[in-house]
Symmetry: none
DNA sequence: TCGTCGTTTCACAACCTGTTCACGGCCGGT
DNA sequence: ACCGGCCGTGAACAGGTTGTGAAACGACGA
C-alpha cells in the first residue's frame, strides 16, 4: 500500500505529493523548485548533501560547472522559513561539502567566546 | 557489512565518510582538516600519535621542519570540543612525543584552588 | 501585447579556511 | 631556580566558497 509521503521536522510539515508545506499548520507559498529542494533536503535530515546530488535530485540533470542555482534556492528557502518560523534554523551550510537539513533553535545559549 | 566508519568516543560520534561529527547528537561544524585530524586521532584512541604521523595521515605529505599546523589544528579542535562538551577533555598532550585521544572528565574531582 | 510569476544568471560583498608568524607560557633536565 | 626547547594561542594573510540583491529571461494567462 502506497502511503502519502509526509516529512515532519519540528513545526514544519512537508507533503511533496501535494506540493505543500506547512509551518505550524500554516501553508507556505513555495514554488516548485523551492518545495522540491526542501523535500530533497528533508528526506535526508541530519546528513550533509552535496550540491551535485541536490541538483540532480531536484533539477534532474547533472550539475554543470559553476551553477549557483542550489545556493540561490537555499537562500530563498531560508528566507521563507525564517519568516514562518523565526526561532528555528533548518538549513545548515557545510563549507566545501553542501547543506544539511535539521531543525535547530536559532538562538542557542550564546556563551563563552568564539566563533564557528 | 562494514560500510560506514563510525567512531564513538563517549558522547562524541565521528563519521568521517559523511564529513560529520556529532556531540550528543548535535552536529559540530568542523572544517575538513579539523575533521580529518579528529578522525586520525580517534582511530588510535588511547595511544600517543606523533606529529609526523598525524601530519602524514591528514595532510598526505611528510612533515617539513618546523611546521606547526598540527598544533594549530589541535588547538582549534580542543576549542570546539570544549564548547560542545565542556565536561570532557579529549586530546591530551604528551610532551616531546605527540597527542593522545581519549575522553576524560575535565575536572576529575574538585575545581580550582588546589594545585598550583 | 502586457503584466506577472518563477527561474536562471550575474556581480559583488561577506565569510570561511588553511597556513604561517610571533610571542609568551610551560616543561624537563641540570 | 635557570635555561633552552616544546607547546598554546591569537592574529594576519591570500584564496577560494557562499550569501545576497537585482537584472535578464521565459512561460503563461489576461
Amino acid at each position: 500500500m502506497q502511503q502519502v509521503e509526509i516529512l515532519n521536522a519540528g513545526e514544519l510539515e512537508i507533503r511533496p505529493s501535494e506540493h505543500l508545506a506547512r509551518a505550524r499548520g500554516r501553508a507556505l507559498s513555495l514554488s516548485v523548485r523551492e518545495l522540491d529542494l526542501l523535500a530533497a533536503l528533508a528526506r535526508r535530515e541530519g546528513s550533509i548533501v552535496g550540491r551535485e546530488e541536490l541538483y540532480e535530485t531536484v533539477w534532474g540533470a547533472p550539475l554543470r560547472g559553476a551553477d549557483r542555482s542550489v545556493d540561490v534556492y537555499v537562500h530563498k528557502l531560508r528566507s521563507k522559513l525564517a519568516i514562518a518560523l523565526p526561532e528555528w534554523v533548518f538549513i545548515h551550510t557545510h563549507f566545501g561539502f553542501g547543506y544539511r537539513f535539521q531543525p535547530e533553535p536559532s538562538h542557542p545559549f550564546h556563551r563563552s567566546s568564539t566563533r564557528q
